[in-house]
């Protein structure tokens, strides 16, 4: 009975104080643990997020670069325009008035398409595009096989286009329409604002002059860094991005011949050799389609003579090339820096991604 009474005694003040103190210590420890965990969590989530933005964006861009046939890098490296290709999904014999392609998204009704097999090319006007089926205005003349490349047709400058002009005279104005993004020679991207007869108005104005005969190519995809947003054909692909310090977003070594070269030349003197290195695969010139496609030379850089600003290449060029002919490494380097303020951490987190891919078509 006494024992029972003893057990019913209340806590002494000392016991209570000690218990509360002990509990406070435990709670403080738990709070610290939870807070640290939460901060770590927030930091992890934030860092993952900030890394994912550029990583996903760069992966997407480079996947499209690999699928493309040609590209232009905008002034300052803030934009990239791609000439996309698709492939024939089935054979198309001479006389066929339609073709089936793997992806018709880069083709358009009323515009020409070009089927490519090495040096062979045939251009036809598209009357309609329904899913993967493309109907042509006239029967094909040449045989075409599954796997051949199909691209939207291009036109050429019919007259010299001076630097600073926005007005181009082209050989086939049906190849472009208002709203199209285009490349002029190796410069671009430009936006076509109007087409009147053989005159095509573009914006912005040309940064350099272009000779008659240079290609004017529609660009199926244009990536642009606008503010902190990376846009693909005007649609936001990723946010919170910027160019890393000292690097452009898009970069590809490019130069022009400072002197014409004859057939067989293996030494190409250019206005700059910055960015070129031995082992690079370069293209000299651009493709133009006629009865036969005039293709660019695809050469390997054997060495770089920086003192003379010349590239030694192998093998020789197969076509005589005039001064001003573009010489380009057909690979694009994409560099993006993502930064995002993390409220939980009360600090800015950043991540940079740089990667490179070569065009494979």
């Amino acid at each position: 009975m006494r024992a029972a009474l003893r057990s019913q005694r209340g806590l002494t003040l000392l016991e209570t104080v000690l218990a509360v103190a002990l509990l406070a210590l435990v709670l403080a420890a738990v709070y610290g643990l939870v807070t640290a965990g939460a901060r770590g969590w927030a930091g992890l989530v934030g860092q993952t997020d900030v890394q994912q933005h550029p990583r996903v964006a760069v992966a997407r861009i480079l996947a499209e670069v690999r699928q493309s046939r040609d590209f232009v890098v905008g002034a300052g490296g803030g934009s990239l325009g791609l000439v996309k290709v698709t492939r024939l999904a089935a054979d198309a014999p001479p006389g066929a008035t339609g073709v089936t392609v793997e992806d018709a998204s880069s083709l358009a009704a009323g515009r020409p398409l070009t089927l490519l097999r090495l040096a062979s090319a045939e251009t036809a006007s598209v009357t309609s595009v329904a899913a993967a089926t493309v109907t042509l205005a006239a029967p094909l003349r040449l045989p075409h096989r599954r796997g051949e490349q199909v691209r939207r047709g291009q036109t050429t400058l019919a007259a010299v286009a001076a630097a600073g002009t926005s007005s181009l005279t082209v050989a086939d104005p049906a190849a472009v329409g208002a709203g199209d993004a285009v490349a002029v020679g190796a410069e671009g991207p430009f936006v076509v604002t109007a087409v009147a007869g053989a005159t095509v108005i573009v914006t912005p104005a040309l940064g350099r002059s272009h000779a008659a005969g240079e290609p004017v190519q529609p660009l199926a995809v244009v990536f642009t860094l606008s503010g902190t947003q990376l846009l693909r054909n005007g649609v936001v692909l990723a946010d919170f991005l910027q160019a890393p310090a000292g690097r452009p977003v898009f970069g590809a070594p490019a130069a022009v011949l400072t002197a014409g070269v004859p057939v067989g030349a293996t030494r190409l003197c250019v206005d700059t050799v910055a960015g070129f290195s031995a082992g690079d695969r370069v293209r000299v010139g651009q493709e133009v389609y006629g009865l036969q496609a005039v293709l660019p030379d695809r050469l390997d850089v054997v060495s770089v003579d920086a003192a003379a600003s010349c590239l030694v290449v192998s093998p020789g060029v197969a076509f005589a090339r005039p001064a001003g002919t573009p010489v380009r490494v057909m690979a694009v380097e994409v560099s993006l820096l993502a930064s995002q303020y993390n409220d939980a951490l009360n600090q800015t987190q950043a991540a940079a991604v740089t990667s490179r891919a070569a065009v494979r078509n």
């Binding site: 690999r66 096989r145 599954r146 051949e148």
Partner: protein, 519 residues
């Protein structure tokens, strides 16, 4: 005891229950937090693994494509297989359509799976040259204006090859003053005119002879060119495409308006071209126009006209004394001299549309002689006389032009306007010898197989495809003017191959055409 128990419970609750609850709450909180962190960490790890697997699968699929390109180069009949790279596996298939091979590769690693599709042109090693001579070749003369080029993006592609089967001192001669040559040069023997050491493309004087497959021109097989021409039916008039004067199995002696004697094969041809307004092969897939002259038959023929003098001679300009030579006219067939006096019926232009404008299909000139001898030349009338452009294309497995003897192009003078004369396809001449070995490979002919001396001003003459001969090949621009001559390799002319070409070698030169990852 029961009272004690009744009192103990509330006492224990009051004194110890709060701590238990607090501990439980803390434990639950920590468990939830820990589980969430572990889940996130595991998710991140999974994502990382997935990305690594996907990247690996992509690389493995690319490896499958590379394997296919390699295997197809060694064995044209290769259709696919499987393989592994590290921990990844690929499955690749190769499907041919004409000379294009479509390659599909699927790579897998872990949970990653990627598909890569590619296509490539697959050509026998002897069919990657613009000029292929089974004996010797001479490119360029004293005047500039000739271009021989192969711009194919392959180190195996060449501008010219001379197999030098008959062992000449010089196999291949390049006159760089008169010819721009772009591409590799290979030969069995000396290459004169250029230094191999300084040549910017492949250059070899010890390359070895390349196959020169014999085509089935005139056998009894239904697949021979002659049989196909005889069996063909021109939808316009229901007659065949075999031309031989005096032969009742030929359209030339089939009756009605087709009543040409044994000395009028060329006239029969002129009538056919005229009836088709200079456009042959329209509406006929893979048409073969087979011309067989009678032995010793002259190309010039006598043309009957009303009134005296009764007959006039129609020549092939530049080839007036030629025999067994098909004249591919630059202008309408005309009789010698003027059409005078005007009062007479003007019969000197019997066939006003007998100049060729466009041909789709194959023109064969062939007569089998004694032993291995074969006869029949094809001559392009002086190109300066052309009154319109000319385009001859063959997209099927047959050559555009096949001559038992020579291809002759000798031109001079000035065209009235700029003209283009283009043959797009394979030009194949036997130089008078159909002399295969046991393997079906022609052994070379001492005679000339191709003679192109183009001097006509304002005329651009081009062969886009492959120019190949069992005999000697000589191509030159003979006058310094605005006329040009070009022989350029064009893989489109090799969309499909004759069976003899396809089976001549098992190896291939494989050149990638397209690539797609499906991204």
């Amino acid at each position: 005891m029961g009272a004690v128990l009744r009192h103990r419970s509330p006492t224990r609750r009051d004194e110890h229950g709060a701590a238990l609850v607090a501990v439980l709450v803390v434990v639950v909180l920590l468990t939830v937090l820990g589980a969430a962190m572990v889940t996130l960490a595991l998710t991140e790890v999974t994502i990382a693994y997935n990305q690594a697997d996907a990247a690996s699968a992509q690389a493995v699929a690319d490896a499958g494509v590379a394997r296919a390109l390699y295997e197809l180069g060694a064995d044209a009949s290769w259709t696919g297989g499987t393989g592994s790279v590290g921990a990844g596996q690929y499955q690749v298939t190769a499907t041919s359509s004409g000379t294009v091979v479509v390659i599909d590769a699927v790579g897998t690693q872990g949970g990653g799976r990627r598909r890569v599709a590619a296509a490539a042109t697959s050509l026998p090693p002897f069919l990657v040259y613009a000029v292929l001579a089974n004996t010797t070749a001479t490119l360029g003369g004293a005047s500039p204006g000739l271009v021989v080029r192969n711009a194919l993006p392959s180190s195996d592609a060449g501008a010219a090859h001379a197999s030098n089967r008959l062992g000449a001192a010089t196999a291949l001669t390049v006159n760089t003053a008169g010819a721009v040559v772009a591409g590799g040069l290979t030969a069995v023997g000396t290459i004169a005119g250029v230094s191999c050491a300084a040549w910017p493309w492949r250059c070899s004087e010890t390359f070895g002879a390349l196959p020169f497959p014999r085509l089935d021109v005139d056998s009894a097989s239904a697949a021979s060119l002659e049989s196909r021409a005889r069996a063909a039916v021109d939808p316009v008039d229901g007659l065949n495409l075999y031309f031989r004067g005096g032969d009742r199995t030929s359209r030339c002696r089939s009756g009605g308006a087709w009543n040409f004697g044994a000395n009028q094969t060329q006239r029969c041809w002129d009538k056919y071209v005229n009836d088709r307004a200079g456009v042959l092969g329209a509406g006929m897939a893979g048409a073969v126009f087979y011309v067989e002259f009678n032995p010793g038959e002259a190309t010039s023929y006598r043309q009957p006209i009303g009134g005296p003098p009764g007959r006039r001679t129609v020549d092939c300009i530049g080839w007036e004394t030629a025999t067994e030579t098909l004249c591919l006219r630059a202008r309408a067939a005309q009789a010698r001299g003027a059409c005078a006096p005007p009062a007479l019926p003007c019969g000197n232009v019997e066939y006003p549309s007998s100049a060729l404008r466009q041909v789709t299909g194959t023109i064969v000139v062939f007569r089998r002689g004694a032993g291995t001898a074969v006869v029949g030349d094809a001559a392009l009338e002086n190109l300066a006389l052309r009154d319109a452009d000319y385009l001859h294309a063959a997209w099927g497995p047959d050559p555009a032009l096949l001559a038992a003897g020579r291809l002759l192009v000798v031109s001079s003078g000035t065209a009235a306007a700029p003209r283009t004369v283009t043959v797009r396809g394979v030009v194949y001449t036997l130089a008078g010898q159909d002399n295969p070995d046991a393997a079906g490979q022609l052994q070379g002919s001492a005679a000339a197989g191709v003679t192109i001396q183009h001097g006509a001003d304002r005329v651009a003459f081009a062969i886009l495809g492959v120019l190949m001969s069992n005999g000697a090949v000589a191509v030159a621009d003979t006058a310094a003017n605005a006329g040009t001559v070009a022989v350029e390799f064009d893989p489109a002319a090799l969309d499909a191959l004759p069976a003899a070409f396809a089976s001549a070698t098992s190896t291939r030169v494989v050149i990638p055409l397209s690539w797609s990852s499906g991204d």
